[in-house]
Symmetry: C2
Subunit: 365 residues, 2 copies
Amino acid sequence: MASKTLLLLPGDGIGTEIMVEVEKQIAILNDVSNAGFETEKALVGGSAYDAEGAPVSDATMTLAQAADAVLFGSVGGPKWDGVPYDKRPEAGLLRLRKEMELFANLRPAICYPALADASSLKREIIEGLDILILRELTGGVYFGEPKEIIDLPNGQKRAIDTQVYETYEIERIARAAFDLAKTRSGKVTSMEKRNVMKSGVFWNEVVTRIHKDEYPEMTLEHELADAGGMKLVKAPKQFDVIVTDNLFGDMLSDIAAMLTGSLGMLPSASLGAVDAKTGKRKALYEPVHGSAPDIAGTGKANPLAMIASLSMGLRYSFEMIREADALEAAIAETLEAGIRTVDVMAPGCSEVGTTGMGDAVAERF
Amino acid sequence: MASKTLLLLPGDGIGTEIMVEVEKQIAILNDVSNAGFETEKALVGGSAYDAEGAPVSDATMTLAQAADAVLFGSVGGPKWDGVPYDKRPEAGLLRLRKEMELFANLRPAICYPALADASSLKREIIEGLDILILRELTGGVYFGEPKEIIDLPNGQKRAIDTQVYETYEIERIARAAFDLAKTRSGKVTSMEKRNVMKSGVFWNEVVTRIHKDEYPEMTLEHELADAGGMKLVKAPKQFDVIVTDNLFGDMLSDIAAMLTGSLGMLPSASLGAVDAKTGKRKALYEPVHGSAPDIAGTGKANPLAMIASLSMGLRYSFEMIREADALEAAIAETLEAGIRTVDVMAPGCSEVGTTGMGDAVAERF
Ligand SMILES: CC(C)[C@H](C(=O)O)[C@@H](O)C(=O)O
Ligand SMILES: CC(C)[C@H](C(=O)O)[C@@H](O)C(=O)O
C-alpha cells in the first residue's frame, strides 16, 4: 500500500489540543485498518512566528506542498496583536492557501439532529439543514494589489484593498460548484453584489455562462449577497450549494455555521485543481471555528470539527469513503449518546473535556 | 413657522405604494399639528431612467440638495436588469448618498414585541432587541476607483473594485458612533477584517484613537466582521451600537434586520455633517427593505418601515421629538391591535393591505 502523508499543523490556541484528538483517530486508522498514514508535524501561526520568525516557514511550506493532505488547526490570538502585518498569524494560513492554490473552500453547514436545540434559531428552521457553501479562496480582496496604507500630502492617510477577479478564477470555482451540485440536489445559488461591484457583475456573467455552456441541466439562481444573507437567516433550507467570493464566503459561511448551532462541529476542505499528471490535488482541512484563545489550555475545547475535518480529508484526498462514513457515524453516535463538551452541553447530557470527547469518538470509530 | 421642505422619492416597485401611506401621515402633521411641511415629488431609480434617461436627474439632485429632508422609497427590479451599469436603478440612490455626503447611515434593529414570533430566531434571543448599526455610507468599495472590467492581452478579463478609506472618513463615522452611544448605553462595537484587509487595520487604528482622545468615558470593543456576524446571530443583545464600513454594514444591517422578524418594519436614516453656518444637515430616510418587485402592485406591501422612516426624519431633521414618539406609538399600537399585513400575519390577527395599514396608523396617530 502506497504511503499516505499527512502534515499536521496544529497552530495556536485550542488548535494544539484538538489536533491531539485527531491523532488518536489516525492511529486507529493505521492500527485497525492498516491505512498507512505517515504524519509529520510543524508550526504555523503565532507559534511559528515565535519559534521561527514567520507565521509559516519556507521549510513548512515545502512539507505542505509535498504532503497528500494538510490538517490545519487554528491560528491567532491577542498575544500576536502587535506583530507586523505581514508576520501576523493569519498570514501563515493565507500563504498556505495562496501558494498551494487551494481555490475551492467547501464549508458544509449541517445541523446535527442532536444539536438542533443549541441553535439560536427555531428548531423547525434548521432541523435537517444540510447546505454547502463553496467559497472562492485564493482571489478577491484577500490578495488583490494594491493593499496598503499610504501617507497623503495633506497629512491624512489612505488605506486601500483591492478586489480582483479574473475570468479563469471564476470559471474554475463555478465548475467546482456545479460538479458538487451534481452529487447533491443539482441546484446552485451564486451570490455577489452586482448592483454595486464590477466584480459582482463579472462574477454573475461568468457563472451564468459556465452554467449555460457546460451544465445546462443544473439549476442556477442568483442572489445579491446582502439579500442572500437575509434569506440564509430566515429560511436556510431553501439553499443547497451556495457559491460566492472570498470575502462574502467568509461572512456567509460563518453565519451559516452559526445557524446550525454546531459551530464547534463544522469542518472545511480547501482544495486545489486536480493535477493532470498525478491525478492528485492539494488539499488542506480545517475546522470553521477559530483558535478560541479565551478557552485555550483549559481542556474544554470541542475537537469534533477538527475530527470531522479529518473525515473530509479521508473523503476528498484519499477516497476512503467507508472510513469517512464510519468516522462521521462515530461523531453522530457520540452526540446521540449525550456526550458533550461545554459549548454544546444540554440538560440530561454528560459533560466531557477535549480528551474525553476524542476518546468517546475513538471508542465508537 | 419656517416652512419645512420634504422631497418624496417613491422610486420603483412597492416604493410608490408605501409612499402614499406616508403622505397620509404628513397630511395629519400639517392639518392637526400645523407642522407646515411642504412636499415635492420626483422620480428615482428605474422609473426615473424610463422617463428621464437617468436613475436620478440633475434636476432631482438639485431638489434633494435643497430639501430639508428626502424620503426615499426603494429602487430596482428585474425590468432594469439589462440597463447599462451606470444607469441602473441603484446608481440613483448611490449618487444621492455620495453627492449629498450622507456618510452616516443609522439602521436600528428593533424587535417589536408584537412581532417577536415572526422571527426565525427563538423568542428569548431577540425579545427586547434594540441595537443600532451605524454604517459608513459614502466610502469603501462602493465608490473607490478603479472600478472596472478590463480586457487582458491573454483574452481573459479582469474585474476590479477598490476599497478605500481616508483618515477623515473613519474619524467622522467614529465620532458619530460615540455621539449616538452617549444617548444609549455608552458601548460601541467596531467591526472590520483587520486580519486580512489594510483598510481594516486602519479602521481599527482610527476608531481606537478617536475613542482614546475624545470619548475615553465610552466603552469600545472590536470584532472581526465574520465573528461579529456570528455573534449577531447567536446573541444579538450583547451589542448596542455597531459601527462598520459600507460593505460590511450592508451585510450586517440586513442580517440584523432579519433577526428581528420585522424587516418590513425597519427604517433607516442617512445623515450628512451639520453645516456650521446653517446648523442643518442633509438627510435621507428610507426603509431597509427593497422594492419587492414580486409583490409590487398587489396592494400587499407593508408600509410601516416607510412610515417609521418619516418618524426618524421628524426626530433627526426637525427635532419634532413629540411627533416622532407619537408616530412610533401609533405603529406599535396598530401592531398590538393585531392589524397586520401579510408579511407579518399571525394567527388571531386581522390581515389588511397597504392602504388599510396606512389608515390604521393614521387613525392612531
Ligand atoms: C483566519 C482568517 C484569515 C480566515 C479568513 O478570513 O479567511 C478565517 O476567518 C476563515 O474563515 O478561514
Ligand atoms: C440598493 C443597494 C445599492 C443598497 C446598498 O447596497 O447599499 C441596499 O442594499 C442598501 O442596503 O441600502
